[in-house]
Amino acid sequence: MTQGHAWRVLLGSAGALGLMAGAALAQDCPIKIGALAPLSAPGTVVGGEAMRDAMMIAEADINAAGGVLGCDIEVVIGDSEGLPERAVAVMERLITQDGVVAVGGGYHSSVGVASKDVADARGIPVVFAETWNDTITGDKQKYIFRIAPLSSWASATIWQFALTLPGIEKVAILTENTDYGIPASEETARGLATGDVESVIFSVDIGTQDYAGIVQRIIAEDPDMIITLVTGEAAYNFTQQAADAGIGPLDIPFVTGQDALESGAYWTNVPDGQYAFVQRIGVPESEFTDKGRAFAAAYKEMTGKSDVESYAMEAYDSIAILVQAIAEAGSTDGDAIVAALENIEHEGTLGTIYFPYGSAKDPSEDGRGDEWWHQWPDPALTMIQYQEEGQSSTDAAIVFPDAYKTAEPVLVNE
């Protein structure tokens, strides 16, 4: 256990004592920042734990650098369980029970959609780290910010990449039936259609273990490429079972789910996963900022993982940018923090984070859609490929887009 972790636990216990006394004391120090992460099922716990660890590092880094406004900060993590109704309660608890002044983190889109209204109604700023659904910023709420890419951008990266590959005429898309998967699959299909590529969508419940029947249906469709828009172990199960049946990453171009970025778990669960493509947010490790490199080192040491997932970096940045906004605002008042965030230039692990559209400039002035509101416009979206067996995701070759490309994609079906 790291020191930051133990510290949080201790503080947590103190919080419990506070509750038992009947009322939490209004304290000035430490400044509490809330965080949402799925830490139990049915949420994607792998992602949640990575985000939790990253935010613990953020807390330790910031306190080592002297905190903010003369106080230490404390990151209070709420377990969203991946459930919208739970998320509402957790957000409520973070704000009224723990007294957080701002909230970061967030993994599942549905959690973001449900909980943002609570925070906005209470005037607590939120910087979402990994919730992709367009409506989160599309509702143009005053207190809601996001550094994750929009779902439509993420889908665009995948279909644009698919269109660059030769000989692709039909794509099978496997999607989870959630508010991440369904819009993403429809956007991807629509994008593919612009390049005259046919697509057929299969949707599954994330709890599904046995994909044999669906894999046979996909084989019968005879696709030239498979795109997986599924999170968690479902993507591992599907990819490996497809490989078992002879249409895995070793057989045709195969985009697997984003959780493959946790390469340790990926290679355990998908031993035949070589040559799979994965979408990744953020520039390659060779182009990391100094901050990114320092964080990656600390993160690998703390978790023992061989690489750093993009959602961990986003989670780190979501806390750090809030702290900078508090410092610039000179107060923990919600409106002041929002004002600071709208003008911020934060050197984060992912790059320079800023929010060009907000109350000062509406997205429509530049002919943009509402979803650009309080949205960081430049998250680097890349496609990587595991070209070596057992490779870590940060070492994997970047094959799209050209701006970041480190290697040509290996096409297994040629």
Partner: protein, 397 residues
């Protein structure tokens, strides 16, 4: 001294009725939220204990009926609105002087995909037409009826079966309901969840005080009132001639049948009433949380209700209700992790392990639950101890 339990019950009711008015902690909203959820589980646990403990029907589908209630009102409030002008693109009917508009089902979309017909029409109107959502109470009533009707149908189908089959079938029914809600994304929005208006979407004024839609006091009293109503109906059920029949059924079905009790009819009646209660609780809770998802039917939720009822006392619905409130508060406060001798105990998961162990220990050694014996004990205190009891009771209030 038979009045002692009744007296204690009244005091408990008075305590919960007065609590939101006298409590002033900084975590007020959070405490209120925990209690509202506690009342919600109390309705489920007490109606389930009537079904399982009194009538001997072990249904594991209670949460499915709760979900039907919740989705009933959610779908109603989501798809039906009243507009002063016809949209021209939706399905719509004249409704007195206005138009009843039924939205088209588009499922989950993002801003880059198509919007539903009402949204398109409203964009075209630019605010010139008044669009009124359906009244929340009507949704709750319809949700309750939907749950009751579903309970009636399932009851007719399965109540002639023995315990094991009934448990299996109701569990399976719950899975079907969940699968349908998850799969019919076009209509139910699947895992994304359906958003609902708040119980009092435009605020409410009670006794001259204005409450906004996010205030906790109105939903607190609505849920508490519903709990009292349900407990009242259950008490009436248990005390009536009908209750005698129901207990006779549990004790000896053949004998009851031989005495001329139409067993299936009574079982179906109890099943329908209790499922309607679950549906009502679900509908109110849905409007309180303002979002429903298929995870309402996650098996853990049903396990919680069963465990709450058993730990409270499955053969006493009042005990089950008190047990549910108590355990809900306990589960929330146990969320904080602690460290013993350098080993960190992450309570977010361990609390459920303890909960399971508590359930098994209760079953094995305290077959009447942990709360029910207390109630019985108070009931048995003799006349001589009356003053003691009174003083004692006075001290706790």
């Amino acid at each position: 001294m038979k009045q002692v339990p009744a007296l204690l019950g009244l005091m408990l009711v008075a305590f919960f009725a007065a609590f939101p008015l006298v409590y002033t902690g900084a975590n007020y909203d959070y405490v209120m939220h925990v209690l509202i959820t506690g009342f919600f589980y109390a309705i489920l646990a007490s109606s389930w204990s009537m079904l399982a403990g009194y009538a001997g029907q072990f249904s594991f589908g209670h949460m499915a009926f709760m979900g039907i209630g919740a989705y009933g009102t959610a779908l109603f409030c989501h798809y039906f609105v009243i507009a002063t002008e016809p949209t021209g693109i939706c399905t719509e009917f004249p409704f007195f002087d206005n138009w009843l508009v039924i939205k088209n089902a588009i499922g989950v979309t993002s801003s880059t995909l198509e919007q539903d017909c009402l949204q398109q029409a409203m964009d075209a109107w630019e605010g010139s037409v008044r669009v009124t959502p359906m009244p929340v109470w009507l949704g709750i009533v319809l949700g309750t009826i939907a749950g009751g009707v579903a309970g009636l149908l399932v009851g007719l189908l399965v109540l002639r079966l023995r315990a094991a089959y009934l448990a299996l079938f109701t569990l399976g029914f719950s899975e079907i309901v969940k699968a349908v809600i998850s799969a019919e994304i076009d209509i139910t929005r699947g895992q994304a969840g359906l958003e609902l208006p708040a119980l009092f979407d435009s605020g409410v004024t009670i006794l001259g005080t204005d409450f906004s839609r996010t205030d906790k006091i109105p939903p607190y009293y609505v849920m508490f009132g519903l709990l009292l109503l349900c407990l009242g109906i259950l008490t009436w059920l248990a005390r009536s001639r009908f209750g005698l029949f129901v207990r006779a059924l549990r004790e000896d079905q053949e004998a009851a049948a031989a005495l001329g009790v139409n067993t299936t009819r009574y079982k179906v009646f109890v099943f329908t009433i209790t499922t309607a209660m679950a549906a009502a609780a679900g509908a109110v809770q849905a409007h309180y949380v303002q979002i429903v998802t298929p995870n309402l039917l996650f098996l853990l939720q049903m396990s919680l209700v069963v465990a709450m009822a058993v730990i409270g006392g499955v053969e006493n619905f009042v005990a089950a209700a008190i047990g549910a409130i108590f355990l809900q508060v306990l589960l929330e406060t146990l969320r904080t992790s602690f460290t013993i001798g350098g080993i960190e105990v992450d309570m977010t998961v361990w609390r459920l392990v303890f909960f399971g162990v508590l359930l098994m220990v209760t079953l094995r050694f305290f077959r009447n639950g942990l709360i029910a014996p207390v109630i019985v004990w108070f009931g048995r205190i003799g006349v001589a101890e009356e003053t003691v009891a009174k003083r004692k009771a006075g001290g706790t209030a």
